[in-house]
């Protein structure tokens, strides 16, 4: 169960080049990408913070949820986007639509892409604007999102296999390696 305030980012089609610009992809480890999360929207060319960008707004400090416009995470397959969000401290991204590769990358890094209706997304944006202290409760096990201020509780979809992985800390490599016999049998069979 996650209980948190939210950072609003009411922009559609946020691409992974915005989440983490390419010039920050030179690192050879996974650590530290959070400092450059949304770098070109968050910092001025001299490195000082852009005052009205939500990540720089003290009212949203400490939030573990990012609420963003539809088609979040489109573009490049860079997993660095998911690493940057997770490294910054984001646990859940709420949007009305996620790009496929980003959705998979997020799930592989313990970051929950939570899809809601466009109508609820817009209501949530308005609620956060009216009260930046608005809290949400995310219950992965029961696949429910509760927004007390809106008196709203909805369920969300998640791939059952990925839910199992997130709840138990499993990952794909362990599972696939356990299927080695089947893989080797396939390799010996007919290919097209």
């Amino acid at each position: 169960m996650i209980r948190t305030t939210c950072i609003p980012l009411p922009v559609e089609n946020v691409d992974t080049d915005q989440i983490i610009p390419a010039r920050f992809l030179k690192a050879t480890t996974r650590a530290g990408f959070g400092d450059n999360l949304f770098a070109d929207w968050r910092y001025l060319p001299d490195g000082s913070p852009v005052p009205d960008f939500p990540l720089n707004d003290p009212r949203y400090a400490g939030a573990k949820a990012l609420v963003a416009g539809r088609n979040f995470g489109c573009g490049s397959s860079r997993e660095h986007a998911a690493w940057a969000l997770a490294d910054y401290g984001i646990k859940v991204v709420i949007s009305s639509f996620f790009a496929d590769i980003f959705r998979g990358n997020a799930l592989n890094n313990g970051l929950l892409p939570l899809q809601v209706s466009e109508e609820l997304l817009q209501r949530l944006f308005r609620q956060i604007e009216a009260d930046p202290a608005t809290e949400i409760l995310v219950d992965l096990e029961n696949q429910s999102l509760h927004i007390p201020a809106l008196d709203e509780s909805v369920t969300f979809d998640i791939d059952p296999y990925k839910k199992l992985c997130l709840l138990n800390g499993y990952d794909d490599i362990d599972y696939i390696r356990s299927r080695r016999e089947a893989i080797e049998a396939w390799e010996k069979g007919l290919r097209i």
Binding site: S77, R78, I101, N109, Y161, I173, I176, R191, I192
Partner: protein, 472 residues
């Protein structure tokens, strides 16, 4: 009891043949035939193997190159920028440690991963191909299932040669009829994305079909499939035919002799069966397509060159026009450009360079415009020189550089300065994609060449007319 086979799509045939295991409520365990890696999205995957004490399961099926973060001048010298040098050195060390063939800097076959795969004949019909890069969809031009993956999945493929994947839905996009003069594969795909939007293909795998697609060369087909991801699709593919087989014949990794004949016989069974069903179908008329150009900050924000820039429909579009410094309500023709970038996995193949050369032959770039021509591979570069294209570019004042991803994503030093306009043959016009504050106009190589010559956005058909007149 024998059940008659249902008609299947090309996509179904290739996918189903690679399912190692299928269980209810579970993603398919999908076998991956070939895996390409590069310096930017692989280092953390190798770290993952080391952390778990694993070797690469099938090292012969992974192929490496350095492309995303390499300089495009002086490639014979050590890379100046320390982080980039370290990233490329890390790839070299990982390939040596894990036994993976590397077409690295200095190799005569080095180049952009999606250019060298087909060039080497590694990309073949009916294969499953992945790479930690969203433009892996390029390889679908050969009738392969090819898609981009994240670094965690790169580690999975290295460790197991498999991925867990839900089978995407299928979409058929037909483009019928004859292309008009000056209209190329790039214009077709920009037109399709402008109609379906940047998320119109999400959760789908696309098959491109129709007479206009069939008439394209392999280079043109790669350009089409390359940009499938720009409408959110997992990938795009085109049924293999004689054009495909002619391209592949004799390439280093293509089958030879009897094996070639057997392969072609198998490949001829891949095209979609009569009556096979798709989850979505879109049909377009090639005659409706004119040379295209983007005006906003995603590839769906594209218009025919004669059309006015649309008025913004919402805050996101208004923000895009503000970033671009472009006014709605009038055509883009005449918009001055500062940079011209001809390159990227979308349009850096020999056919693209020939198209550019054919237009600029006997002409010069406009004063004040910087023109970068970045070939997709060492082979493309060598071919261009062999055909004398380098002399045409030099006479025109264009810079013919060395292979790499270059200004498409501006990881290296090839950056467009803030506020400057770049007409680019690449695939993404996102904010800051070609450098912080850079303003990108996506277009075909012909349209980019026309802008290079005039210094402003130009309907290439006007230059083609005058070129034709000049030869009379």
């Amino acid at each position: 009891m024998q059940v008659a086979d249902q008609p299947k799509t090309l996509f179904d045939k290739v996918w189903d043949a690679h399912v190692v295991e299928r269980r209810p409520d579970f993603p398919d365990l999908l076998y991956i035939d070939r895996h390409f890696i590069h310096e930017v999205t692989s280092p953390q995957a190798f770290d993952e193997l080391r952390r778990r004490g694993l070797r690469v399961f099938r090292p012969g099926q992974t192929i490496a190159t350095a492309d995303h973060n390499v300089p495009t001048i002086d490639q014979h010298l050590p890379i100046r920028e320390p982080l980039s040098r370290k990233q490329v050195a890390t790839l070299e060390a990982n390939c040596a440690e894990f036994g993976i063939e590397l077409y690295g800097l200095g190799h005569e076959r080095q180049g952009i991963v999606h250019v060298i795969g087909p060039e080497l004949g590694i990309t073949q019909p009916g294969r499953t191909i992945v790479c930690g890069d969203s433009h892996t969809s390029t390889h679908g031009a050969f009738g392969a299932i090819a898609f981009g993956i994240g670094t965690s999945q790169v580690a999975q493929v290295l460790a197991t040669q498999c991925l867990l994947q839900h089978k995407p839905r299928s979409m058929r996009i037909e483009v019928n009829g004859t292309l008009r003069k000056g209209v190329t594969a790039k214009d077709i795909i920009l037109y399709i994305i402008s109609k379906l939007t940047t998320s119109g293909g999400t959760q789908h795998f696309v098959e491109y079909a129709g007479s206009a697609i069939r008439s394209l060369s392999m280079e043109g087909r790669m350009t089409i499939c390359n940009m499938s991801i720009e409408m959110g699709a997992r990938g795009g593919m085109i049924a293999p035919d004689d054009t495909t087989f002619e391209y592949l014949y004799g390439r280093p990794f293509a089958p030879r002799g009897k094996a070639w004949d057997e392969a072609v016989a198998r490949w001829r069974r891949l095209p979609t069966d009569e009556g096979a069903a798709y989850d979505a179908v879109h049909v377009f008329d090639a005659h409706d397509i004119e040379p295209m150009i983007t005006y906003g900050t995603n590839p769906g924000m594209a218009i025919g060159i004669s059309r006015p820039v649309p008025h913004p429909a919402d805050a996101t579009e208004a923000r895009a026009l503000e970033y671009m410094g472009i006014e709605p309500g009038k055509p883009l023709e005449g918009q001055p450009v500062d940079y011209v970038f001809i390159g990227s996995c979308t349009n850096s193949r020999i056919e693209d360079l020939r198209a550019v050369a054919s237009l600029v032959q006997g002409r010069k770039k406009a004063p004040g415009v910087t023109v970068w021509v970045v070939p997709g591979s060492k082979q493309v570069e060598a071919q261009a020189r062999a055909e004398g294209l380098d002399r045409i570019f030099e006479a025109a004042g264009f810079q013919l550089r060395q292979p790499g991803c270059s200004a498409c994503l501006a990881m290296n030093e090839d950056k467009v300065p803030s506020g400057k306009y770049c007409i680019s043959t690449s695939n993404r016009n996102f904010e800051g994609r070609q450098g912080p504050g850079a303003r990108t106009l996506l277009a075909s190589p012909l349209m980019a060449a026309a802008a290079a010559v005039t210094g402003k956005v130009t309907d290439v058909r006007k230059l083609l007319e005058s070129a034709a007149l000049a030869t009379i």
